[in-house]
């Protein structure tokens, strides 16, 4: 069975995702040792320096986050984009400082996702249970096999994406811009008969958007937020501050 990581990377006028991708790939090579395929556009491909497999696509634009372009509309195609039997789809700003993902790949679960994330400043700001009528999942990391069931999950995400306003109303989702986290939460909820599904048992350590990133090494990150400086070592981190591209 082939295993590998699939990344989506599209530079925007504001953020150099290609730089973040290069750092993400170097950590995958160091800590996971898995092959990487990057789905990207023709312009961004020229700026990716890592030695990796690339797949160039025409991207769908139009979505925004905080009034800035947000190119996040391709992930439902991961089933077709992935050349691997067992795939890890990962945000490029998720940095693998540990081998956790490698361990999870050994499980038999055909689809895995995190249901919990926490702010590394521990400010209790990452609860979304009052923002929708269903539990949020974090599409930051997806692990899946190519099976009829996972095909159904991705097809449902596509359906949700195409009818997002309807699903926002149905599940009373307050955040109206398309968000993969909700699209996958809805798809998993529906494909699993509105019952529980298997998840990754820990929580994603999230560096908040208002944290200043002071240092990034091969095994640790030093950040400052509200006059507090903390060092995080040998632990996977999800960076919400896209300045991570320029550290």
């Amino acid at each position: 069975m082939t295993k590998g990581v699939l990344l989506y990377c599209f530079d925007t006028p504001q953020v150099s995702y290609s730089k973040i991708t290069d750092r993400c790939i170097s950590l995958i090579e160091r800590n996971l040792g898995l092959p990487v395929t990057v789905v990207t556009d023709a312009d961004t491909k020229l700026r990716i320096k890592s030695n990796c497999d690339t797949r160039v696509v025409d991207i769908e634009k139009g979505n925004t986050k905080f009034s800035k372009p947000w190119y996040n509309l391709e992930r439902h195609l991961a089933f077709d984009h992935s050349p691997y039997d067992r795939t890890v789809v990962m945000d490029v700003d998720y940095f693998c400082y540990s081998d956790k993902i490698l361990r999870l790949l050994e499980s038999e679960n055909d689809f895995l996702v995190h249901k919990n994330a926490h702010d590394v400043m521990h400010r209790e700001v990452m609860r979304y249970d009052r923002e929708a009528m269903l539990d949020l999942v974090w599409a930051t990391v997806l692990i899946f096999n190519k099976t009829p069931r996972t095909r159904a999950i991705f097809d449902t995400v596509k359906l949700v994406k195409e009818n997002y306003v309807h699903y926002c109303n149905l599940y009373r989702i307050t955040y109206k811009n398309f968000r993969n986290d909700y699209a996958f939460a809805i798809a998993l909820n529906q494909i699993n008969g509105h019952k529980e599904y298997d998840v990754i048992p820990d929580s994603i350590a999230t560096v908040p958007a208002d944290a200043e990133i002071l240092e990034l090494d091969d095994n640790r990150a030093v950040i400052r937020c509200n006059d507090k400086t903390i060092s995080l070592q040998d632990q996977d981190l999800h960076f919400l501050n896209k300045d991570v591209a320029y550290v």
Partner: protein, 105 residues
């Protein structure tokens, strides 16, 4: 002590508490163990359960972290892996905790 000294102690305690909370979250992630294709947490509860139910038995049943049933056919091997993963995670947590304490002192 004056108010500034008291505030400084409070600030140091907050910083230590934050570092400890992050180190504990890391330990929880480090305790994830996949055995025979199932996900487990190598925590004290799992270890105690496995040790108890495996006494004098060649195999037993338990639930993985998603409540899926698993038959454990090699309890000794499983317990050894759980202990290794648990102690590796807690050893790292212990080192981080000592660093936090030393910085506070």
């Amino acid at each position: 002590m004056n108010i500034d000294q008291l505030k400084e102690i409070s600030k140091q305690s907050y910083d230590a508490s934050l570092q400890k909370a992050n180190a504990l979250k890391k330990a929880e992630s480090d305790q994830i163990l996949v055995y025979k294709n199932h996900i487990f947490r190598a925590d004290a509860e799992t270890i105690c359960f496995v040790r108890t139910v495996s006494e004098g038995k060649d195999s037993f049943f338990m639930l993985d972290s998603n409540s899926n049933p698993v038959e454990i056919k090699e309890p000794v091997e499983f317990l050894k892996l759980l202990l290794q993963r648990n102690q590796s995670a807690l050893n790292t947590y212990h080192q981080l905790y000592q660093n936090i304490k030393n910085r506070k002192a």
